[in-house]
């Protein structure tokens, strides 16, 4: 995946929230949703909305299950999946009776799939020697995930509070504290890279002119 697309998608993931489908409120697709989809063999959901190989009835069925599991009370969904009664539970839901917009749901699945793929990484074994170069395709977590994770780890505050209620200047100071507590050396931030390049190009021209003057002496 292109690095720019990945960065943008990782950032966009922080805008995910509850959304509405008619009268229903759907929770954002989560790790728990992934577990449920795997438990109920929802290939359409696990495949990010890929309908190939599925007939219309099966697509409709899986979308109905999706809406149910994302909108019904979590305790009810978990109980139904746990005891195997989910097939009856979802078919009796308000959503199934009223119908839904399949195209809208498929679009949503595909949108979430792009965000999910951007966040997926593979692990490679670390070499025993510390002087070995890291892999060329190494991916660091997104800037926002790093900050939220560090602040949450240091304070125990919820993701919701850190992201949406904690004032930015204070959040950045707590992030600084977390780095400091871990023994990191923190310094004044470097100038924006394009500004640095401009300054250095000017300095290089000046140094070059100075060298030429010296040569003439």
């Amino acid at each position: 995946m292109n690095a720019d697309v990945r960065a943008k998608a990782n950032e966009a993931a922080f805008l995910e929230s509850t959304w509405e489908l008619g009268e229903l409120k759907l929770r954002p697709f989560s790790l728990g949703s992934l577990v449920l989809a795997r438990q109920m063999d929802l290939s359409l959901i696990l495949g990010g909305g890929d309908v190939r190989g599925l007939n219309v009835e099966e697509v409709d069925r899986q979308l109905a299950v999706l809406v149910w599991m994302q909108s019904a009370k979590i305790t009810e969904v978990l109980a139904a999946v746990r005891d195997g009664t989910w097939k009856e539970a979802f078919s009796g839901s308000k959503f199934t009776k009223e119908g839904y917009a399949a195209a809208l749901l498929l679009d949503e699945l595909r949108r979430v799939d792009v965000l999910t793929l951007a966040a997926v990484v593979s692990l490679v074994p670390k070499p025993g020697r510390s002087d070995e170069d890291p892999p060329q395709n190494m991916i660091a977590p997104s800037w926002i995930a790093r900050r939220v994770f560090r602040i949450a780890r240091g304070t125990g505050w919820s993701e919701d509070f850190i992201l949406w209620h904690l004032p930015l200047p204070r959040a950045l100071q707590y992030f600084h504290c977390s780095l400091w507590e871990d023994g990191a050396w923190t310094v004044e931030p470097s100038a924006p890279v394009s500004q640095q390049l401009e300054h250095l190009e000017a300095a290089a021209r000046e140094m070059s002119a100075h060298d030429s003057e010296d040569d003439e002496l």
């Binding site: 690095a3 660091a140 470097s190 100038a191 640095q196 390049l197 290089a204 140094m207 060298d211």
Partner: protein, 159 residues
Amino acid sequence: MHEGQTIKHITGDGSPLKSPSLGLVAASLTSGIAFASDKPLLDTIEEIDGEAVRKFVWSFDGGRTATFRPSFKEETIDLHEMGRRFNDAAWCAANADHPIAFMRAMFDQLGALRVRLGEMKPLLKIVKSRGAGSRSIALIPQDADPTRKAELLAELDRA
């Protein structure tokens, strides 16, 4: 460079061409202490506390040593003889351990280094602070076209 190779450095501030350590570089090469690779010099300009600072690092093969064999007899020569030997490549090759051969080799080495350095421009070292307290660095050739420079900066921004 190769696996297991050790590297030793000669470092300095300012222009490597004008640095007194250029003499040491030439002397080391003349004496058999070779560079670590065919790109032995890292010459950069970076911004430190708002000032542009030029630094250089020469990399030598840490496994190489210089051996001196003083196998010549004491002698006294005049300027004419000095010039004859100094300008005679065959004599220098046949008397490689003689101080005149060394001086000639170092003179050639220093001249070649000066020519090479005169054609080179320092790289622009752009530093970006990263969240975890670490830094990412891009080395941008001054002659790179604007598109390439923009690409390198974009890569650095993403790091």
